[in-house]
């Protein structure tokens, strides 16, 4: 009987992942043993410290370029940059999640098991402290995302996908108010997510079958093997292309690309707003990180074949996002469609096969994450007695009531519209430039045209806020607590800074833009 040989593990390189997983586990213990009244502070502190520690570890690892734990995890430039981005954005999201002064008890339901719309439900909505399970759930999700962008084989990637998806389904269901909407959103997200996972898994199976055809090499689903198989395998290419298509569908579902975006508006609207922000920023980074790795590393040899199909999806995504945003009447749904359109622009960056394309996409992800979190932070503040006032008609005249927050929101909308001196402009430039160089002018033209369409709904909100008289139903803007203020400041400052001096971050992404194989 031969002795089992353990793979070598580089614990330092895995530290960010391990820290987040550890924090999640400790969080569960805290739920069990710490008295209720201390829990929120302890959990918040624990999650925050863990995230900061993970960020520190990412920074310490900055020069690591290695594949570890038996080839399951690749720690390289894109991994580290994306992990850093996920963690920083997650800190912002955590600040929104932890906010307890804007609404008494926070944005989350106190007892998820209470029947929605019952008398007991109304009682808990009036200020009982929200569930603190959200913190470990969030830590699990973040750990999953960190693995997702570092996964070096398709199975690890699949497991990471599930690890970060399951907590997100739960988080979506935990809104304090409008619980039916929230639970419905969570259920939809879960069912469709499971559906998409099935596609992904089926794709993995097909790819596995395809790799068995390499002469003199065993089958496998690690990216090096897949990469070799694309050029050398003697198996039927139908396996490869069908597998690639199904894998792409699983990932594009998470990235909210059309026609796999259908869940997005409902889920974004139903989920508690901090969670929506978390999904819009961090899930997007994770999904595109995985897309980049799969298509730049595993399937690099087939780029001539997948580019037209993914390009068509990108154009469709931009069109659907931009056109549907025009008639939205709810701010959260509007931002959801904007997020869909942005997925289209990001795909343009993914399809530019150069180093600049990779770095531009990463830049876009980070910049967009800051802006979108700031946008959702403002959404949490505009409220009336029944919670957030998300219907757009309620935002009319907001500029007169609260010029400061209306100005901030205007600035963020201008950033989404890609006006110069905001990060929206530089990041679009960063993905469209490499796409032009890669002769993908049609994608850039579609991107610019849809940006014009998309500017309309943004500016409509701006016009509404500033040029309408405030009415009876115009809500006031709550003064944000320290946590929301911090998140808002980080988001707005980053949006401005990345628009005015994008140099440092661009240098960072360019330096990081190389995968290990």
């Amino acid at each position: 009987m031969s002795e089992l040989k353990l793979p070598s593990i580089d614990y330092a390189a895995l530290a960010p992942i391990l820290i987040m997983l550890g924090a999640a586990l400790v969080g569960i213990l805290v739920e069990a043993f710490v008295p209720r009244r201390l829990r929120n502070a302890v959990q918040l502190g624990l999650a925050l410290v863990a995230m900061l520690a993970a960020i520190v570890m990412v920074i310490l690892n900055a020069d690591a370029r290695l594949i570890t734990i038996g080839g399951a995890i690749a720690v390289d430039g894109p991994t580290l940059f994306l992990q850093g981005a996920i963690l920083v954005l997650a800190v912002m999201a955590l600040l929104l999640v932890g906010e307890r002064t804007v609404e008494r008890g926070g944005a989350f339901v106190a007892h998820a098991a209470v029947t929605a719309e019952s008398a007991e439900d109304r009682r808990q909505a009036e200020g009982v402290g929200g569930a603190t399970e959200v913190y470990p759930l969030m830590s699990f999700a973040i750990a999953g995302m960190l693995i997702f962008v570092a996964a070096n084989d398709l199975l690890t990637m699949f497991i990471a996908l599930e690890v970060f998806s399951l907590p997100l389904y739960l988080l979506c269901a935990l809104a304090r108010r409008r619980r039916l909407l929230s639970q419905e959103a969570a259920l939809k997200y879960f069912m469709l997510g499971a559906y998409a996972s099935a596609f992904f898994l089926f794709g993995v199976a097909l790819i596995y079958g395809f790799t068995s055809g390499i002469p003199g090499r065993g089958a496998g689903v690690d990216f090096a093997t897949v990469h070799a198989a694309v050029t050398d395998s003697s198996s039927s290419p139908v396996l490869l292309f069908a597998g690639m298509a199904l894998l792409a569908i699983g990932l594009l579902f998470k990235a909210a690309a059309a026609p796999f975006h259908v869940w997005t508006p409902d889920v974004y609207q139903g989920a508690p707003t901090p969670v929506t922000g978390f999904m819009a920023a961090c899930t997007k980074v994770a999904a595109f990180g995985a897309l980049l790795r799969v298509f730049h590393v595993a399937f690099a040899g087939a780029s001539w074949d997948f580019t037209p199909v993914l390009g068509a999806i990108a154009v469709l995504t931009m069109l659907v996002g931009a056109v549907l945003a025009v008639t939205q009447t709810d701010i959260k749904r509007l931002l959801a469609y904007s997020s869909i359109a942005n997925a289209g622009y990001l795909l343009v960056g993914v399809l530019a096969p150069s180093r600049e394309g990779l770095s531009g996409t990463m830049f876009y992800l980070a910049a967009y994450g800051f802006s979108v979190l700031a946008a959702f932070a403002v959404v949490t503040l505009v409220r009336d007695a029944d919670g957030e006032a998300t219907h757009l008609s309620r935002w009319a005249g907001l500029g007169r009531r609260s010029p400061f927050f209306a100005a901030i929101f205007t600035f963020i909308l201008l950033a989404f519209a890609g006006i110069p001196l905001t990060s929206g402009f530089t990041s679009k430039f960063a993905v469209f430039g490499p796409a032009l160089e890669a002769n993908q002018a049609w994608l850039v033209i579609a991107g610019v045209l849809t940006s014009m369409v998309l500017a309309f709904p943004y500016l409509r909100v701006v016009v509404m806020m500033w040029l309408s008289e405030p009415g009876e139903s115009t809500p006031t803007v709550t003064v944000p607590g320290a946590l929301t203020s911090a998140a808002l400041v980080i988001g707005v400052v980053a949006t401005l800074a990345l628009g005015v001096v994008p140099g440092p971050l661009l240098d960072l992404t360019t330096g990081a833009a190389e995968f290990v194989r």
Partner: protein, 653 residues
Amino acid sequence: MVEQILTIAQSEPAEAVTFATADGMLGSVWLLVAIPLVSAAILLLLGKRADRWGHWLGVGAIGAAFLLGLTYFFQLRGLENKQVELSLWDFMAVGNLRVDFGLLFDPLAAVFVLLITGVGFLIHLYAVEYMAHDAGRRLFFAYFNLFVAAMLLLVLGNNYVMLYFGWEGVGLASYLLISFWYGRPSAATAGKKAFLMNRVGDAGLAIGIFIMFAMLGTTQYDEVFNGVGSMTSTTVLVLGLLLLLGAAGKSGQFPLQAWLPDAMEGPTPVSALIHAATMVTAGVYLIARSNAIFSANETLQLVVVSVGALTLLMGCIIGAAKDDIKRVLAWSTVSQIGYMFLGVGLGGGAYALAIVHLLAHGFFKANMFLGAGSVMHGMNDQVDIRRFGGLSKYMKVTWLTFMMGWLAIIGMFPFSGYFSKEPIIVAAFEREGWTAWLFGLAALLGAGLTAFYMTRLFVLTFHGPKRWTEDIEHPHESPKLMTIPLILLAIGSVGAGFLLATSVPDWLTATNGLGGESGEHAPVLAHWLLTALSLLVTVLGAGLAWFLFRGGTATEPQPAGVVVTAARRNLYTDAFNEAVFEKPGIFLTRALVFLDNRGVDGLVNGLAAAVGGGSGRLRRLQTGFVRSYATSILTGALLVVAAFLAVQAGWLA
């Protein structure tokens, strides 16, 4: 004819221009721009909180800049290469275009810095009192500081883009300050007029900069000047004409002179600082700075000289027919800048003469504008000189200081105008052939006319019988804070001319191209004869005015002959602009609006309706049912798989 002119061009190749790097004390030369800018920002951002002390901050900022300017000036004096450059950061780097955010401190820039901050400081001080009763005083000082910052940037930039940056900055400040009392329709209109006419000139300057970049690939001064020799003479001519258009727009020269007199709608300190002493001389600065370009083409120089001569005569003639004290001074500004253009157009040693006249003019014109402000202050804001008279008894300080300015501008010995204007007249006579007579006599005639209308202004205001409106009983002298700047400027009007004329030309030789020997030719008349002649026409003009107006004048407009009527109507230039530009412009606008409403808007609205309609229809697909979502995903998945397989089978490729 044209070809002949074009072939004459291309004079001697200029020596290579090199700038030293600024170090030591001069490394902080950026502070000159930063201090007023920060002060302006503070005044704008703090809002009402700064109302109580804001004006003193404004004054202090300019005072500090002046002191700094002085120390830099003395630093520069000790240097071997008196052109020091300070590159701060890359302003823009797009493709081949690299623009440096850099400053150049050289003798030319140094004298401008001293003029802007020195005279600027005195006028700021004056404005503290002048604007004391205005609710918007803090805002006024914010704009004023913004102006000084932009003007300093204009003269300190080390490339044309920086110059353009400052150029637009002073344009903005000028617009804001002309229409400072925007409640008055006339002030709002004047602001717009200034802005629009300046746009015409600015467009010329911008296109000129584009040409530089297209031809030479750079906008840095040194590289452009060194590269002038490599351009064809036609290119140099076109480039020069475009720069001249910019200069004419900013300096109120023909054909873009009409905005400057209207700009007097702004508060009087604005007229004194921006529309007399500093900003309007930016055109002269531009030409003097670009001397390598202008000296390289004789046709170009001829155009500049012609513009200068024509404008100086126009200004004199119109100025003689105006009755508004500030407008007379405004037209005299137009006319005096005409002299400066004449000087820079003559080239060679006359560049320095023009700069000397510019500096001297800065003093005496600021002096007179502030004097006019002081008169208005004491006379309930009356500006009609037919309604003054006999004020010498009531406003002793204003009277005496204004007298210094008056004697200076008409070029009376030994006041400063004599030392600065007379050499330009002589230089005009030093040209070749018949143009010496043409431009020389124009300059001489201008001197006589200047003496006439300025004396008319002076006599009608301060002497003769009182013709005041009923509401004025006791005109009063202005407070100390207003008279002290007047006195200091009057001292400048007396003494500056001699000092400047003897020192500045030597000092300026260190700036490339400004050190040429004056006139290769002897003047067509003897020098002493020209001096005597210019003094004679001055005395004649002044004497005639004294004779005609010592007894006062009618308080109502009088019927007049052809010339005076034309002059009252600004020589029909406004009517010309209206007929040639405004009317067709209005028609064009109407046509475009029609086209826009029917054609473009129709298309755009149609598209928007299509998008909106499509959006409304697509929205219905978003039913909210998971089953329909799943179907949509499945359909998408089937399509994607099919597409991949189609690609693989080669159907789509």
